[in-house]
């Protein structure tokens, strides 16, 4: 991996790699012969590697910035979560989305940790009620949007099973549920072309109030929209204009590896799919606890 003086360069490389990878996954949908499982699996590995590098660079940068703001409740002072899981291997199972279990918070922290080694845990510092509430509201929406709930879907109990996420129905991939309670998740359902974005806006705002330094770079952008947005692929820009600043097409890629990463928000037709443009916006709004990947 690249180190030292090439740090920034390497971050950009990671970003464009992510962008390229997502394009590949997206274009594989329309290929003749159906989605190639092998190729998409390999692309997911590149995505994971690039994400790890990108996030570690990002957090290193934030850490350096915080050195300049000793008064703002530094992230480092926050109580740490329960001990993190090891850096997420792709085998880390996707969290089921039980809306009410107590240990969800701890697990979500673990997954968050997995995604960003430098993360100190502000996610977990948020009051659990706030953390769960949006998700409880959003999870039914999530499952609805993700098409017919498979076994255990709809409402979040038990194992996640929203079939047909991104992959065409040709392959019996099944399963989808992605833990999203502490970040933004966007899922494109391949069968219905419904896009669901679930955001944990409350969490972010709450954390912002405690550590304004984190939200520093938000150049007057609007606050996160409330959770549980649903949008049709083509109608997105019409229905939710205020999201244009958040568009950045955040992708959540989880330690669970495979299916989780093939979520992709639709392209906003008004906004060019420009890695640079969206990248800057997303960087501006990226909090230290966001596990999302900036793409496109």
């Amino acid at each position: 991996m690249l180190r030292g003086r090439r740090r920034m360069e390497c971050t950009l490389d990671a970003q464009s790699l992510i962008s390229i990878s997502l394009r590949k996954i997206h274009s594989s949908r329309t290929q003749r012969g159906g989605i190639k499982l092998h190729k998409n699996l390999l692309v997911s590995y590149v995505l994971r590697n690039a994400r790890q590098l990108y996030l570690s660079e990002r957090y290193a940068e934030l850490y350096r910035r915080q050195q300049h703001y000793p008064d703002g409740a530094p992230l480092l002072a926050m109580p740490a979560c329960p001990p993190p899981a090891a850096a997420a291997p792709p085998e880390l199972a996707v969290l089921p989305l039980p809306a009410d279990t107590q240990d969800r918070e701890a697990r979500s922290c673990a997954v968050v940790r997995g995604g960003a080694e430098l993360l100190e845990g502000p996610v977990c510092a948020a009051p659990p009620e706030l953390q769960r509430a949006p998700c409880r509201d959003s999870s039914p929406g999530f499952y609805r949007a993700a098409g017919s709930a498979g076994p255990g879907g709809g409402g979040g109990g038990g194992s996640s099973a929203a079939p047909g996420l991104l992959y065409a129905a040709g392959c019996d991939f099944g399963t989808g549920g992605v833990p999203h309670c502490s970040s933004r998740t966007t899922v494109l359902d391949l069968d219905t072309h419904v896009v669901t974005t679930v955001e944990n806006g409350y969490l972010h705002q709450d954390c912002c109030s405690q550590c304004p330094c984190c939200c520093q770079p938000v150049a007057g952008g609007p606050p996160f929209a409330p959770c549980t947005k649903r949008a049709r692929f083509e109608e997105y820009s019409a229905e939710h204009p205020q999201d244009s600043s958040n568009i950045s097409n955040l992708i959540s890629i989880f330690g669970s590896g495979f299916t989780g990463l093939v979520s992709r928000q639709q392209a906003d037709s008004e906004q060019p799919l420009n890695g640079q443009l969206c990248g800057k916006q997303a960087l501006a709004s990226l909090g230290a606890w966001t596990r999302a990947i900036v793409a496109f």
Partner: protein, 447 residues
């Protein structure tokens, strides 16, 4: 192997090239598989358009002692057609992924050909006689008025122009959810396996409505998927043994006597990754694209993106030999990822005596590695060298630094010209090398 002659070095000469000359390649003509039959007399190719073309070697002419028989078209047929799976809204490509010959048992030849979903057993038979002298039919097939028949005669066979017919004898369908990547005929010549990304099925050649699943690596939760099956092959001698390779660079050897479901391997062949070579693309380049047993059955060869490895079946922790195919590409992986070349699946093959292995590369180069002398050679399949018995000049790629005369720099390589499929005659030094839409046949120089 350096082509300089002398000793046991093989000098490779151009023999023939098949296929269209023009640069505009029709997608259907892209060759997707090449395979000699067990005697080497027949050479089959499959293409993206679902066709199979079989070439037959001429009988060796006593007067033409300086060259081995040429290969001429023997039979052409449409093996697979594009299909549409209405239930899943999926188009199924007609591209032939693999062809495997059955050993010849009678006058007819049999081969298995497969696309992503369906395997077919084809019978290729010759007809060089036809019955003539029917009583009720004219020669052109029209029926005669029975009242005009005054005498009876017995129809007799008369010679006719040779006609080669291909007919599908078995169709093995609906057994694979994912894309079939391999088929392999067992040494018992009664069964064969077919492998897709997650499962391997065992078939009997006579039975089409049933197959046994012998390997299933699909996780209960697809989110946990970390590897897929990339190739599988039966052992050439032990009818109970087969191997399958994975996208993670591992090979598993399974014994069908151990259990009905061979999810637990008998042996696992894996070489630890060199941490200094770690990159964004480590997982991709370690994915194995082909696995082939040696004819002896003692070794197997695997091909990953940058290298060929020879494994001794008795040693699981590392290969016994590793050959770098195009190490100069290691610094170009990012661009190769962008243009999708990093996903190219190169095949590899053994010569008849298992002393030389061959594989393809870019710029229409192909590489041979002599296991005994440890020498390697790079040759090019190009119409520029197309005079018969022209000895091929070894090629060299200049990785960095000053480029010598006749060397090619890495940046001038044409990555659209790739040789993915090669085959070696089982008994003679004749090789078939497929470029995008042409098939080249090279022979060793006979003195």
């Amino acid at each position: 192997m350096a082509g300089a002659g002398g000793g046991n070095d093989i000098q490779w000469c151009f023999s023939q090239v098949k296929g269209a000359v023009d640069d505009d390649v029709a997608e259907a003509d892209i060759i997707s598989t090449v395979e000699f039959n067990h005697s080497g007399e027949l050479l089959a190719t499959g293409d993206k358009g679902g066709r199979v073309v079989i070439f037959q070697q001429e009988q060796e002419n006593k007067t033409q002692s300086h060259s081995r028989g040429e290969y001429n078209v023997y039979s052409t047929f449409q093996s697979h057609e594009p299909e549409f799976d209405y239930l899943k809204s999926l188009e199924i490509e007609e591209k032939i992924n693999k062809i495997r010959w059955l050993p010849q048992k009678n006058a007819a030849q049999f081969l298995l050909s497969t696309n992503d979903k369906t395997i077919k057993l084809w019978k290729i038979s010759e007809r060089d006689k036809r019955p003539e002298g029917y009583n009720l039919k004219e020669e052109d097939g029209r029926y005669r008025d029975p009242t005009t028949v005054t005498t009876l005669r017995v129809p007799v066979f008369r010679p006719m122009d040779l006609m080669v017919e291909a007919s599908p004898r078995r169709i093995f369908a609906n057994a694979h959810t994912y894309h079939i990547n391999s088929i392999s005929i067992n040494s018992d010549y009664e069964t064969y396996l077919s492998a897709d990304d997650l499962r391997i099925n065992l078939w009997h050649l006579e039975i089409t409505d049933r197959s046994f699943n012998i390997v299933d690596i699909k996780p209960a939760n697809m989110e946990e998927l970390t590897e897929v099956i990339t190739a599988a092959e039966f052992h050439p001698n032990s009818c109970n043994t087969f191997v399958y390779s994975s996208s993670k660079g591992t090979i598993r050897l399974c014994d069908m006597r151990a259990a009905a479901l061979c999810d637990r391997h008998s042996k696992l062949f894996e070489e630890p990754e060199d941490p200094s070579n770690r990159s964004f693309f480590s997982e991709i380049i370690s994915s194995i694209s082909d696995v082939k047993f040696s004819h002896s059955g003692r070794y197997m060869m695997t091909r990953d993106y940058l290298s060929v490895k020879i494994w001794d079946l008795n040693m699981e922790n590392r290969p016994v030999e590793t050959y770098q195919v195009h190490e100069y590409l290691r610094s170009k992986l990012c661009s190769l990822y962008e243009n999708d070349c990093i996903f190219d699946k190169f095949e590899c093959c053994w010569n008849g005596s298992d002393s030389i292995v061959m594989t393809g590369s870019y710029n229409n180069f192909f590489r041979m590695f002599d296991r005994n002398t440890k020498r390697d050679i790079t040759l090019e399949a190009s119409r520029e060298n197309n005079k018969p018995r022209t000895v091929l000049k070894p090629r060299k790629v200049c990785a960095s630094g000053k480029r010598k005369k006749d060397e090619i720099s890495v940046d001038s390589l044409d990555f659209n010209k790739k040789i993915l499929h090669t085959a070696w005659h089982p008994k003679q030094n004749i090789i078939a090398v497929a470029t995008t839409n042409n098939l080249y046949i090279f022979q060793d120089k006979m003195n």
